[in-house]
Amino acid sequence: MSEKVVVIPCSGIGKTFGTVSREAAYAVVEDLRPDRTQLVALSLLVLGDEEARAAVAGHPTITIDGCRLACATKMVQESGLPVARSFTVLDAFRKHRDLKPEGISALNPEGQQLACALAKEIAEAIDALQEEA
């Protein structure tokens, strides 16, 4: 249970789902599993920032993508680092079709709820990963 899990959202800025990925990441690292997780910015990692790479190396990494393009997952893998679990907002939306997220700069309440639902799912995955470790 000692190893921190790294969380990397795509934070895509062009679509609502990108904002949901960002909000879900914050919900995990600030609210649900604050002592057991760490946020790492995708762009820093991809551009070869040593600190970011060191933070990810040797730690289980969870990616959160807004859409099926899966930029976060792809880029972490292309950076030569393994992805322990990957989640997409699109999948979460399919499970919660009653929630219609809207807004990019500010999510509507349903978007926030969707982010929370996804964050809970991710928190469970973190528990499972840390139990395995």
Binding site: C10, G12, I13, G14, R22, Y26, A41, S43, L47, L69
Partner: protein, 245 residues
């Protein structure tokens, strides 16, 4: 020249999640895109850009970009330069905050007052740059850029013809050259223009297509023949589709 979409300025924000200044960059970019200059700007999605999004990269090759970074690591500016071209302007949130004597910016998830003020100041600076860029470069690029939007790709073309996912509308098309797939910028618009001008498939047309395509895409001299063959094949397909409606 083919008709390309109206000229706009691309905004690339780092959106770094782990620093409040990253959130400032995102909030400022969205303020410009959604409220202050919605008709003159498009967002360039940094993760998609990094992951090889051709539409976003194509946009940044054609049009000026403004990079907004949270810190001195300048991920947005560096990525833009690496994959498309040097941004026309680059803003760093920490610089703006220091220049304006703002207090510590806190709250990556929910910005404090200093963060909100910083976002407003950065957004104002971006607006100033956007206005300057559109005014200053309009003449130079004006000949190549018409005010009419490019027609959307048909469903049949969806697999190979795409538009920028950020909404900028630059058309790109995937073509197989020498057994490998390459993405050619503006090709759908070039084909459309040739077709509208009554140019039908043939050797002369292929030569013209090659020259026009070269304006927007690097074509190695040693691969000219392969590119010409690919362009001839794709243009013939394009004409067949147009003729059958």
């Amino acid at each position: 020249m083919p008709l390309l979409p109206k000229k706009k300025v691309g905004i690339v924000a780092c959106s770094g999640e782990e620093l409040p200044e990253g959130t400032v960059s995102r909030v400022a970019a969205l303020k410009v895109l959604e409220e202050l200059r919605p008709d003159d700007t498009v967002t360039i999605c940094l993760p998609l850009f990094l992951a090889g999004g051709e539409g976003d990269r194509a946009f940044a090759r054609f049009y000026p970009t403004v990079a907004i970074d949270g810190c001195e690591k300048r991920c947005a500016a560096r990525a833009t330069e690496m994959y498309s071209g040097k941004p026309a302007a680059s803003i760093v949130v920490t610089d703006v905050a220091a220049e304006n004597g703002l207090g510590p910016i806190r709250g990556s998830r929910r910005l404090n007052d200093a963060g909100i003020r910083a976002a407003e100041l950065v957004a104002q600076e971006v607006v100033r740059l956007v206005d300057e860029l559109l005014g200053r470069t309009a003449q130079a690029v004006g000949k190549a850029i018409a005010e009419e939007p490019t027609p959307e790709a048909s469903e049949e073309e969806e697999e190979t013809v795409t538009l920028c996912s950020c909404g900028s509308g630059i058309p790109v098309q995937k073509v197989t050259v020498n057994g490998r797939v390459v993405t050619l910028i503006a090709l759908p618009a070039i084909f459309e223009q040739f077709y509208q001008n009554g140019k039908r498939p043939g050797d002369g047309t292929t030569r013209e297509l090659l020259e026009m395509t070269r304006i927007y895409n690097p074509i190695p001299r040693e691969e000219e023949a392969a590119y010409a063959e690919a362009l001839a094949r794709e243009y013939e397909k394009f004409c067949r589709k147009r003729a059958t409606g």
